[in-house]
Symmetry: none
Subunit: 203 residues, 2 copies
DNA sequence: ATGTCTATTTATAACCC
DNA sequence: TGGGTTATAAATAGACA
């Protein structure tokens, strides 16, 4: 191939190795092209240099993906299987989490209370009490704040009803979107869909 | 390449085409091997003849699948995605659902209450009241039932403390497993034991 | 890293088995 | 198909820009 026979053995000098790679890469790609045209073949050639640089050639009549699908069919080995399995596992996990979340919500709503132990009941009751207290406090706070605003406006001589009436002030940030989904669709609790969600969230 | 310059153009004669394919296939595979050894590269070469016959070369240091995984990483194109669009979609959906469920639980606990509208707050409060009522009723029912059992035992002259004391009767079906996962986080329970009586106040 | 030059080695087209 | 043989075209190692 050049000035003197060479032996096919790893070129230790990094620079030379890269130079040779560059030249031979061009050569092999040319061969692949020729094979494609001359023999009407379909060729996929993927190369990583020792520095990790990628080069590829794919016959213009096809795509890498299509050719690999064919490859799989012929060889029987399913390259995507492992990916598929991972996805499925993920999905399963998500469904389990979903189930748990649903169960927790159901219990918080008061369903299935008959199957709970006394201690759990007491715990749940306490939790609910705490929550309801938080919500109520927030509600009171909102009322207080809005009343304050109303009074200030009035004090400044503005018409407090200028833009909105008192009721609408209270109702103000009624963000169209319902927040508790179960309240939106009472029937929904039957079994929404498959439930996967997240992996390790803490509630 | 032989007796007279040839032009790179599809060989129309099928037999000749196959002969040429066969010879050149050998040649290109040799080149791939040389590139692998000489330049320490990783090469995947897949070829389909015009008759559909598959030939491949893969550098011994890797596997077709591994090399293709690398290929995907570098190119960004995900060859498998299109195969599993449905699965992937499913997964996405599940994650969204879980997100919603988590959000709902968080709200039922009383988190994020500051971002809710007044109406939503009122709705949530009602829901929580209802739930706590259900739970409390069930608790009372259990107490009543157990007290009943206790009395009956006593009436029959049995020692009601024979196996368990009164407390443990109440605590009975304490099913080791925690039911509400969020309760596992201890700090959340700190503010308990308060106004049971005010849980159903309404403005 | 890429392109050019050149001596030499390789690949291979055409042919035959 | 696959293996030889051989004349010739192609590829390329080494050197340098």
């Amino acid at each position: 191939m050049g000035r003197g026979k060479i032996e096919i053995k790893r070129i230790e000098n990094t620079t030379n190795r890269q130079v040779t790679y560059s030249k031979r890469r061009t050569g092999i790609v040319k061969k692949a092209k020729e094979l494609t045209v001359l023999c009407d073949a379909e060729v996929s050639l993927i190369m990583f240099s020792s520095t990790g640089k990628l080069s590829e050639y794919i016959s213009p009549s096809t795509t890498t993906k299509r050719l690999y699908d064919q490859y799989q069919q012929v060889t029987g080995t399913n390259l995507w299987n492992s990916h598929y399995e991972k996805l499925q596992e993920s999905l399963k996990k998500q469904k389990e989490i979903n189930m748990r979340l649903r169960k927790e919500i159901r219990q918080r709503i008061g369903e299935g209370v008959d199957d709970m132990s006394f201690d759990d009941l007491r715990g749940l009751e306490q939790d609910l009490d705490t929550s309801v207290k938080i919500v109520r406090d927030r509600k009171y706070h909102m009322i207080a704040t809005q009343t304050e605003t109303y009074r200030k406006k009035e004090a400044r001589g503005e018409d407090p009803y200028y833009e909105e009436d008192y009721e609408s002030i209270l109702a103000m940030s009624n963000s169209g979107a319902q927040i508790l989904s179960y309240r939106l669709q009472p029937h929904q609790r039957n079994q929404e869909e498959e439930g996967y969600g997240s992996y390790n969230l803490r509630i």
